[in-house]
């Protein structure tokens, strides 16, 4: 047997008895709890949690939705308000995603290039919004955006505004609150792909005479694409089902899918139609996810964050 010295990463052992095929060295397993270790039963805890908290309610909703056969779905689709809600919600999610994308790109670039102390502040702000309860943040937005709320007071004091604000209980009131809630989901994947950029490539391109536009086109943007797509898909999917912000900041005419479902459950007590609507929303988001996965492999990008 001879060892091939030119390769340093893997030992190629050639043996005529093995028909010349290389034998891969056995690398140690990386996972801590595996079936072989006998500690695999630890997985039972998260699985039970998933079963109780995710699968259980889903099964209950599905059973309720099909109580009247297809009647629940027929009723839901027949309601004009449901179809309008789908339209409004998709539009809302699109607008929020676009705004998040623009702001998120700036934020991520700021995170990537700023000195350590600014980076710390930016990260801390991002995670602080993540960790403060969504309900408390939404109440904060109510106090900000009320006709004579905090924002009016600040602008009035500066002499910029003389009449009360009219943004409260309208659709535009939802945008800042939702963007603020979604920004971490957009910034983190983009930041991750920015950090993954190989500086050597940029220097090499520069030294070979490449201009900024070429560097942008050929090196930076393809790298960013993964993060942008991952972040946008995540933000869009979450925005479709967002409930707290439309419930509190929007007026009764700015309903979204989630508030319509809530209305069916809480006010008209048509549980079958409401469950059917909920399943419809879930189905739509799943289809969207499958598309994104097929086209852009988003789950890989989420794993990298």
């Amino acid at each position: 047997m001879t060892v091939d010295e030119t390769s340093s990463q893997q030992a190629r052992v050639t043996d005529s008895s093995l028909l010349g095929r290389p034998i891969q060295p056995v690398l140690p397993r990386k996972s801590a709890a595996t079936a072989e270790d006998g500690r695999g039963w630890l997985l039972a805890v998260p699985f039970t949690l998933l079963a109780l908290c995710l699968a259980g309610p889903l099964v209950a909703i599905s059973l309720t939705a099909f109580q009247r056969g297809a009647g629940g779905f027929a009723h839901a689709l027949g309601e004009a308000i449901y179809l309008r809600a789908i339209e409004r919600t998709v539009l809302l999610a699109l607008i929020v995603t676009v705004i998040c994308l623009c702001l998120g790109l700036f934020y991520a670039v700021g995170l990537a290039v700023s000195p350590a102390w600014i980076k710390f502040i930016l990260f801390a702000s991002l995670f602080a919004t993540f960790w403060i309860s969504l309900l408390v943040r939404t109440y904060g937005w109510i106090l900000l955006l009320e006709p004579v709320g905090a924002l009016y007071w600040a602008l009035h004091k500066m002499g910029l505004l003389h009449a009360p604000l009219t943004i409260f209980q309208t659709t535009p009131a939802m945008y800042p609150a939702m963007v603020a809630a979604m920004l971490p989901f957009m910034v983190l994947p983009i930041y991750r792909s920015l950090v993954g950029l190989d500086r050597n490539q940029i220097w090499a391109a520069r030294s070979l005479g490449g201009r900024a536009s070429l560097i942008m086109r050929r090196i930076i943007l393809p790298e960013l694409k993964g993060g942008v797509v991952a972040g946008s898909t995540l933000v869009f999917m979450i925005s479709l089902g967002f409930f707290v912000t439309p419930r509190f900041l929007a007026g009764p005419e700015n309903f979204t899918l989630s508030t319509v479902i809530d209305h069916e459950f809480e006010r008209t007590y048509d549980f079958t139609a409401a469950s059917a609507m909920g399943l419809g929303l879930l189905g739509g988001v799943l289809v969207l996810f499958l598309f994104a996965e097929r086209l852009f492999k988003v789950s890989e990008n989420w794993e990298r964050v």
Binding site: A35, E36, G38, G40, W41, L43, A44, V45, F47, T48, A51, L52, I81, E146, P147, V148, G149, P164, T166, F168, Q169, G251, P252, E253, N254, F255, E266, R267, T268, Y269
Partner: protein, 364 residues
């Protein structure tokens, strides 16, 4: 190697399955225990469940009625958030959780038309004024109230709004108006629109939905909708709304807390409200005892002192100073300019009323 994998996979499945089963079993036991103790608590001899609209009125009820009732009889009053649709649904499905709900007179008539209410035992004192004779066996311990227009005096000091037409006049009286949306008590929204449109109070019922909704659409951009009575009070108290449409007691509550509010009694919509007892109430005796306790002239007078809701027992006036009597919804001065809600007529339309209003709210 392959055999090892299969054996350890089987081991994993067995152990995992056992753990899963144990956890599920534990969850089921805990759930059953919780449900059992909950049922035990609810069917205990010493509670009754009353659904109302919370906020300052509930606080007043507790202060005047509930605390002394519980101290005297040991029966606890469990408060729940009121909801007409839920009340009806409970009775229809047979799964009655509430004993009674705070219902307005037109809701009373609606519930009686649907045969949902239980007749009060003979030992519960009856109302002897305001409540019409045909309802006195079902409605006791009631109070009078008015839907009216509170306004901020710091916005309209000299030029006061006097009528529902002024409520609609955004040029003379600018600012947002606090208005109920369909998550809370929506009584009176069509009536005030029709009155603002110039309909004669005696010709108000049956309500012309289209005319009312058209009138409401004119004001839509100035309406600040509140999802609970407390939110409406907060809008007015914080100055986000310059005028409002709510019951007199709610407006009076924020006035006593220091907000610069004045109540406009002209064209106020006068009605009465009280506990409507479910036919299959789970704690019938307890809720009847609670109503009997509240149907005391002295306590009705105390409640009136605190909230400015009027009594429905004439003996209560003996315990009230003249200044209080003059402040109540049914006082002579107020009753003269009030518009009385026609309960049977409104009850006939009330379900369509709520559906039409909900639809208009969603339409924008």
């Amino acid at each position: 190697m392959l055999d090892d994998g299969k054996a350890s996979r089987r081991q994993f499945l067995i152990k995992g399955g056992a753990a899963l089963g144990a956890l599920t079993g534990a969850a089921a036991v805990v759930d059953a225990a919780a449900a059992g103790t909950d049922r035990l608590f609810r069917t205990q001899a010493n509670i009754c469940v009353y659904a109302d609209y919370g906020g300052t009125t509930e606080a007043a009820r507790q202060q005047v009625y509930t605390n002394s009732f519980t101290a005297k009889t040991g029966i606890k009053v469990d408060y729940a958030p009121a909801d007409d649709a839920k009340f009806v649904l409970m009775a229809e499905q047979g799964n009655v959780i509430w004993d009674a709900q705070d219902a307005n007179n037109y809701e009373f008539v609606e519930f009686m038309n649907l045969n949902l209410l239980h007749k009060l035992p003979s030992w519960v004192p009856r109302a002897d004024m305001v409540v019409e004779p045909q309802y006195r066996d079902y409605a006791s311990a009631c109070y009078t109230f008015s839907y009216l227009m509170p306004y901020r005096t710091d916005k309209f000091g000299a030029n006061k709004p006097q009528s529902w037409a002024d409520f609609w006049d955004t040029s003379k009286f600018p600012g947002m108006r606090a208005f109920p949306n369909d998550s809370t008590d929506t009584g009176g929204v069509f009536e005030v629109a029709l009155l603002a449109d110039g309909v004669n109070p005696s010709k108000l019922y049956p309500l012309d939905f289209d005319r009312a909704l058209n009138k409401l659409s004119q004001l839509r951009s100035n309406l600040l909708f509140y999802s609970s009575l407390a939110e409406g009070q907060q809008f007015l108290a914080s100055g986000n709304a310059s005028l409002g449409m709510m019951s007199n007691a709610r407006a009076y509550a924020i006035k006593t807390q220091g907000a610069p509010i004045e109540l406009n009694w002209n064209q106020a919509l006068l009605a009465w409200s009280g506990p409507a007892v479910q036919r299959r109430a789970p704690h019938l005796v307890n809720i009847s005892k609670m109503i009997a306790w509240e149907a005391s002239p002295l306590r009705q007078a105390q409640f009136a002192q605190l909230t400015h809701y009027g009594p429905t027992m004439s003996a209560a006036f003996k315990h009230m100073p003249k200044s209080l009597i003059d402040a109540l919804p049914s006082s002579p001065a107020h009753a003269k300019v009030a518009v009385k809600i026609n309960a049977p007529a409104l009850a006939k339309q009330y379900q369509d009323y709520q559906a039409a209003y909900t639809q208009w709210l969603a339409k924008g």
